[in-house]
């Protein structure tokens, strides 16, 4: 069952390194160029419910992730890509999921990742005049 799921994701995203986190939860690492393409492929394969968009500060790079699920039945895919830490820019998922709007705003606010194409790149949880992005590992507090 889990193996079938893994093979299914591998055939959907041939350019990705895929491994299982747990039963029916897969993690796929894709190159940056395929960020939007992976989202479109997964959405058309039934993973239509966007769970979240976020990021991880890896000290010498930044990893952007999104997770999507099947609204009927079982299965979760987390897709991640590595981007430059000094100029973290990535195309916005808003063209694929309308619901990405605030997830990307939050990621911008807390990690400083700029989503190109998102119409509303303002801070959301912190005040507008805040300096810095708190979830970066070198943030002084």
């Amino acid at each position: 069952m889990s193996q079938n799921f893994l093979d299914h994701i591998k055939s959907l995203l041939p350019y990705a390194e895929v491994h299982l986190i747990y039963k029916n939860k897969a993690y796929a690492k894709v190159p940056k160029e395929y960020w939007i393409d992976s989202a479109k492929k997964l959405k058309s394969a039934g993973f239509t419910l966007l769970s979240f968009v976020s990021g991880i500060d890896r000290l010498n790079s930044i990893e952007v992730i999104y997770a999507c699920r099947k609204p009927e039945g079982n299965g979760l895919v987390i897709v991640g890509t590595i981007i430059d830490r000094n100029n973290p820019r990535i195309p916005s998922l808003i063209t694929v999921w309308e619901g990405a709007l605030w997830h990307e705003r939050e990621t911008f606010d807390l990690l400083g990742i700029y989503f190109e194409g998102n119409p509303d790149m303002r801070r959301i949880l912190l005040p507008d005049e805040w300096v810095g992005h708190p979830l970066r590992k070198d943030y002084k507090w």
């Binding site: 986190i21 747990y22 029916n24 939860k25 993690y27 239509t48 419910l49 966007l50 769970s51 979240f52 976020s54 991880i56 500060d57 992730i65 997770a67 699920r69 609204p71 009927e72 039945g73 079982n74 979760l76 987390i78 999921w97 309308e98 619901g99 709007l101 605030w102 997830h103 939050e106 807390l110 959301i124 949880l125 912190l126 005040p127 708190p134 979830l135 943030y139 507090w141």
Partner: protein, 367 residues
């Protein structure tokens, strides 16, 4: 025919941050023209405590105590999601009695959370009777939870590999009494809300959302079920012993505000059914694993069906006693995101009916 050149006057007003219908400090900035909302924006962050950052600086076993503060009316789920994510990285099999105790405590919390929502929502619509009824009924459930966990709100009941305390003697009777009490008032609740013509007039056909649009927005939980999608993580991606339990998933038809009320009242009934089954079937045995300190390097995603939707934790562990990154996926955040778009074109007085029906819990939205 009279041709009148009218001056169009718009007015921008703040609904919040201190407003009873926002259920917490949230600012809805609406631009109105006459009484019609033509534009809206939301300002958040009034109670942002930086819990995600805080988690990175604490030991694993300290963290659940912070997380029950995420949503002060359904704290149990928020501890539970994190504990599940960490257990997934550890690869722990939770003892069966602990799984049943988790189901009982979570379903009791769901009843309490829906009741306090009903209370607050009734008050939003001017039904102050509902406010006192909701608090009265919820109190009995909280009494049962207090007996189990020693706390009335911030439970800190979930630990890695089980639960903190076993069931005390006489717990079954207390739960049964509480459930009977709540159940005896549910017909009154229905008369007060979904069968009440005044209540219906204010909520029926207000901001209907189609199933496909709700999925596009990322809605989960009762909000999605009200749109007619039979989606419940307890049934679709079962965890613990939910597979073996018998319960229904109530769904709405039109996805309007009335359906959201209907679905939540039905969910209270289903939760009562689940707790009754669980209390009968709970096996004896150990209720926690000992000596679990921290997980090996890896990633985990723990989810539970919260009273608002999918509560999820994405945890990255680097093998140290503190997590490297904790991402909290809050369902109410996603629901509130769609609010500015949905309320365009409705009357200002209807805003409170819509906003309340989203069940915004600012603790989890702001984090």
């Amino acid at each position: 025919m009279v041709n009148m050149q009218q001056e169009v006057r718009t007015l921008t007003i703040n609904v919040g941050p201190q407003h009873p219908s926002t259920h917490g400090p949230m600012d809805v900035i609406v631009t109105i023209e006459g009484e019609t909302i033509i534009n809206a924006d939301i300002r958040l962050g009034y109670i942002h405590r930086g819990i995600e950052k805080l988690c990175e600086t604490r030991y694993y076993f300290q963290i659940p105590a912070y997380l029950s503060r995420l949503c002060y009316v359904s704290g149990m789920f928020w501890e539970y999601g994190f504990v599940r994510a960490v257990e997934e990285i550890m690869g722990v099999k939770v003892p069966e009695r602990a799984q049943w105790l988790r189901v009982i405590s979570c379903e009791l919390t769901r009843i309490a959370s829906h009741l306090i929502w009903l209370a607050a929502y009734a008050a939003d619509l001017g039904l102050l009777t509902g406010l006192s009824w909701g608090l009265r009924d919820r109190d009995r459930i909280i009494d049962a939870l207090e007996m189990l966990t020693g706390q009335r709100m911030m439970f800190t009941y979930m630990v890695f590999g089980g639960v903190r305390y076993d069931m005390p003697a006489g717990f079954q009777d207390t739960v049964e009494k509480s459930l009977k009490y709540v159940e005896s008032h549910l017909p009154d609740w229905e008369k007060l809300t979904i069968e009440n013509p005044i209540f219906r007039a204010r909520t029926e056909n207000l901001v209907p959302v189609s199933a496909s649009y709700a999925i596009e927005l990322g809605w989960t939980g009762p909000m999605l079920r009200a749109c007619g999608v039979k989606r419940d993580l307890r049934r679709d991606e079962p965890y613990d012993v939910y597979e073996t339990l018998d319960f229904e998933i109530p769904t709405g038809k039109r996805g309007d505000t009335l359906d959201r009320v209907y679905v939540r009242i039905e969910e209270i009934k289903q939760s009562i059914k689940i707790v009754r089954q669980a209390i009968k079937r709970i096996p004896s045995g150990p209720y926690q694993h000992r000596a679990l300190l921290y997980p090996p390097p890896g990633i985990g995603y723990g989810y539970v069906e919260d009273s608002r939707g999918e509560c999820g934790y994405f945890v990255v562990s680097d093998g140290t006693p503190r997590p490297y990154r904790v991402k909290i996926r809050s369902p109410a955040y996603v629901h509130v995101m769609s609010l500015p778009k949905l309320i365009k074109g409705i009357k200002l007085a209807d805003l409170y009916a819509v906003l309340g029906s989203f069940d915004p819990c600012l603790g989890e939205i702001d984090r």
